[in-house]
Amino acid sequence: MTDTTTLQERVNDLIRPQQVHRDVYTSPEVYRLEMKHLFPNCWVYIGHESQTPNKGDYITAQIGDQPLLMVRHSNDEIYVMYNRCPHKGTKIVIDKAGNTGKFFRCPYHAWSFKTDGCLLAIPLKKGYEGTGLEDTEAAKGLAPVGDMKNYRGFIFARLATEGISFEDFFGESLSSLDNMVDRSPVGKLTVAGAPLRYMHKCNWKMLVENQTDTCHPMVAHESSAGTAVKIWEEMDKPEGTPTPPAMQIIAPFMSPYEFFENMGIRTWPNGHGHTGVHHSIHSDYSDIPGYYDAMVEAYGEERAQEILGENRHNTVYFPNIMIKGPIQQLRNFIPLGPDKTLVESWIFSLDGAPSELTARTAMYNRMINAPTSMVGHDDLEMYERAQEGLMSDGLEWVNIQRLYEDDEDFTETAELNGTTERQMRNQFDAWKRFMIGGAA
């Protein structure tokens, strides 16, 4: 497949309005096309600025299968570039995070680069005199990404040099990121500790879809959430015993279908969307002393109530992250192969807010997202069974038509019944377009 017409035909053949072909989850060829087209054409999450607080601090990251590094330069700006020596291709840094000082030095031949990527020095440089090195790509230093953006501390990049702008790509969906950051009385988040890292033997899109699938919690999580509710009810506890934080977190997973129908889903253009328009499983967490007062002092009563009144559950940012504003979490679904995905679950503390909020988000993370989590166990089981089941030749199509409506227009923002699969259809509409360049 070499020309775009063929690619467009191939992509169109895989996506129908109410179903998608199993090849989008299982085919190594489709995966290769995602790495080559989809991920480079989208704005993809790299990291948070609090991971590189000091000059010379760096982290490693990737977009699709492309190794990247993010670094804070001497002018305090953050740069994102390919993690590849322009000489022989050696990765410049290999650890998840560190500090490189004033420059990077390739460990193979000691070519060195400023922290904005520019070539600084080459040993025995006179060996290149008269060879025309200055006219080569190698002389330009570490290659930058096509474009990057620091949005309220969250660093995104687009690999393609030409393409949709950050603002056009995200549009109104940035309201979810805004709400998460505004929950800090000083409007600033800080990454708290290391991320959970959970390996899934399934396609990355299964995980992204699951973030707005509201018909599975009461089924797949009956064993953990349902058992928790049962044990709590059976316990001999004095009247008025407050519900402990762990129960506040796990019990809503067993909410009935009606709860999820009423909570609503909102979809935005370009594959973004969120569950929890009216309320969510985070709505009824108990107050943390001092937090509301700090918010009122910072924003005034009306604005503080507006910020805290948003209880969005999961916001999907196409293609591959999800955030939970009310508890300051970000999950990154990093593709490693057609049937292999690394899930990183990060938590943030709210600057200027009581630390109990961080304690709650840490509890949520280990209870729900850890490789040791009783809730995560059953999700992973479902994804891996789906990955295996989709190899069946008996059926070729995956059904995503729940609450489908004729002529759905994904260029419009929509608000619907919380159990619709429209957000999945919205993602595949975006998938189709960004696979062939991002044109509307």
């Binding site: 959970l196 890292r197 064993s223 840490a362 280990r366 089981e381």
Partner: protein
């Protein structure tokens, strides 16, 4: 308590887990004890950072009850585990308390998959009228920051 009682206790606890005697195992715990499995090497703060596990009696009970549930899909079929212990290193011991560190290899298996984890397990033990009990347990996995698939039983 004496060194031999403490050592026997550590071996007996691992044996119970390997045999799936989870309810008996839970009886070994003091009511306010916590099972901690850090996410990071040398992690000091279990509250404001994520851990792999930081569970009180309620959560451990939930974990065990869940294993026996009719709709515990990731436990159909069930996992099995196996601990191999080095000789426990008794760090502190008195008549009524002990701190013990034990190197273990933990194997967990389900279907055709088997994973091996290298552990350093720290026990805080207390003597009670009902025998030795666990006042706290910390399990440091050698590669705690690696990306794992499901770890479903109790290392």
């Amino acid at each position: 308590m004496n060194r031999e009682e403490v050592t026997d206790f550590i071996y007996d606890e691992a044996w119970m887990l390997d045999e799936g005697q989870f309810h008996e195992w839970l009886e070994l715990w003091l009511p306010d004890a916590v099972y901690w499995m850090p996410l990071n090497w040398n992690q000091q703060d279990p509250i404001n950072e994520t851990s792999l596990l930081y569970e009180d009696n309620f959560m451990l009970r939930l974990r065990i009850e869940r294993l026996a549930g009719a709709r515990t899909f990731s436990q159909k079929p069930k996992s099995r585990c196996h601990h191999v212990l080095n000789r426990p290193r008794i760090v502190e011991i008195s008549d009524d308390a002990a701190k013990v560190m034990t190197k273990m290899h933990y194997v967990e298996t389900r279907l055709d998959e088997q994973q091996l984890l290298a552990l350093t397990v720290t026990h805080d033990l207390k003597a009670t009228d009902g025998g030795i009990k666990i006042a706290g347990k910390r399990v440091d996995i050698l590669n705690c920051d690696a990306a794992f698939g499901n770890i479903q039983l109790l290392p």
